[in-house]
Symmetry: C2
Subunit: 348 residues, 2 copies
């Protein structure tokens, strides 16, 4: 950190009570000049916040949605470089596709550089796998709203927890099938509907099935269809806070949806161990940007926008839910009745 | 930041709906081992939070209380190395001591290392200066509670601001007269009463009037009296979160109250420019720990505990106010009536 830059003084005397002594704004306006007389330590707030975060850690909840076989579990494992999905890395032959959409949440604690992430991966097996997929979105939307409701109930409690446990879905990765053709009606339906309640990040799954040209064309077509259908995926244009945000996010939006390949298997390539998929014609390296855009997705989702995903969830999606809920309830917060709470839980 | 340390997996499968497929906790428990397969970037959350703080800045509101002539304004100017108090550095002869306690808030923006602090200094002229000081605490407590009420009303609004403006008093510095004798009844009364609603940091003012021995003895006596009277000043023992906090705060508590000297005048001492007070027998250097404990107070208040002062204000004092307010109101939040709000303001 560098030393004192400039002190901007903005004097707003607030007279409370009838002033016995006349206010002297001119007098109070005197400043020692724009330079501080030495280092104060205002920027140490960053270090103080770092220490607090190192102690408490943080929550991050990611949901994966898409037809079975698109590599959702593998991609999440690749993102977090560990077995965080509910499935084992080798497919279990006994595991059947469920007959309805299920919601399966698995919790982990991953630590890196002394920072603890309390990660929840929420899988949605059965989505898009039915003969009739008409009501596929409902249980997912229900789960997302239930987490907002839980948070709201904690927030309006008289005796509140010091830190409200955050189970809200910060990010929903939607897996698009690498057909090379177009989005399917279910893709459009899901993203159009759910983008209003959660941060949707569309990705093109298993992109190693496409050549460079096919990938380029398919991405372009998907982007057009997303725009045509008015789907506001994350990072939403309307939430860019300033020109810097806009410039950074425009670049990302132009590259989305990222065409990815996941793998939790390591191979030796040019003397280095890399995560990849071995084929007779070569190893697809997941982190090699010439092979796929996994690295871009990871950098975006974890290394540059993770905090923002949490903030948009809290400031936009949760606030929207809360405002609607209070309005529907005549402006009153939901009553936190322990009895009804129990009944509610058992209905799940 | 360093690379991947350890991944602790704590698998808690949450079956929602009746599971069609039996839960397989053993299967989900499989982990890739304690080592992450490469760097994920979890610790980049710190950098992401830093960027957000650099953009938004932060609020800090400090109140100073104590008899006139104890150097409150000068000390605040010394803390922030600039003219932040409402008074000019040279005493204005026209300024009379008010006949009742007044509350004067002045706002500033101070920037250092690219971090903006929105600082409010709240002065309380007239405190302890009356013939009868019986009701001196009331307007101060009223002001503190009014800020909690403002925040609460914003918090329960249906359409909330993205960032609720924080006018709550994060820290109240109480100035003890360097009598060398003991605390006065008003000191005890104020701190005992107000320590329940705000973070009190007692300081011994103008400590250059005492010799090293006198200072040592006086500090010890004041500490004993504070303890005897059950005054829980900041950092309060009961809010230490862990052994590390306790060890750090114990050290600070044992040194408190800091015996300080303030100055906003610079002198040349051994070729260096220092803030100090020039006397015929030498320059009192405010940052020289052999001369006074200003440096300790500044390090504690700004460089190590500023974020914690904000968090204790929010998590403890504000929560206490909020719980009481809701309980008194039959569990309901206060109604934000624009009419009554206006009337309220005009009554101040």
């Amino acid at each position: 950190f560098q030393m004192g830059l400039a002190a901007m003084s903005e004097v707003v005397p607030e007279p409370r009570q009838k002033p016995t002594v006349p206010a002297k704004p001119t007098c109070a306006n005197i400043s020692m000049g724009s330079q501080l007389l030495g280092y104060v330590g205002i920027d140490t707030i960053i270090e103080q916040m770092r220490k607090k975060t190192m102690k408490t850690g943080f929550d991050f909840n990611i949901m994966v949605v898409g037809q079975s076989g698109l590599g959702k579990s593998t991609l999440v494992n690749t993102l977090f470089k560990s077995q965080v999905s509910r499935k084992s890395s080798s497919w279990n032959r006994e595991e059947k596709i469920p007959k309805t959409v299920e919601i399966k949440a698995v919790n982990h604690v991953i630590e890196e550089g002394g920072v603890k992430m309390k990660l929840t991966v929420i899988d949605t097996p059965g989505f898009g796998d039915q003969i009739n997929n008409e009501n596929c979105c409902d249980p997912i939307e229900k789960y997302i709203n239930e987490q907002y409701e839980k948070f709201l109930k904690e927030e309006v409690n008289i005796a509140r927890k010091k830190r409200i446990p955050d189970t809200r879905v910060h990010c929903c990765m939607y897996f698009i099938s690498p057909t090379g053709h177009s989005l399917r009606p279910l893709d459009v339906e899901f993203m159009r509907h759910l983008s209003k309640v959660v941060n949707i990040i569309p990705v093109i799954a298993k992109s190693d099935t496409m050549t460079v040209e096919e990938k380029h064309d398919f991405k372009q077509r998907v982007r057009k269809e997303l725009e045509f259908n008015g789907i506001e995926f994350y990072p939403q244009k309307e939430f860019d806070e300033d020109m810097e945000d806009k410039a950074e996010n425009d670049k990302i939006r132009e590259m989305m949806p990222f065409a990815v390949v996941g793998s939790d298997k390591e191979y030796q390539v040019n003397g280095k161990r890399v995560l990849g998929r071995k084929t007779p014609w070569g190893v697809v390296e997941v982190e090699n940007l010439n092979h796929c855009e996994f690295g871009l997705l990871r950098d975006f989702l974890i290394r540059s926008h993770l905090q923002d995903l949490k903030e948009v969830t809290h400031n936009i999606h949760y606030e929207t839910y809360r405002a609607k809920r209070l309005n529907d309830n005549g402006g009153l917060p939901p009553v936190n009745n322990p009895d009804s709470e129990e009944q509610h839980e058992s209905n799940l």
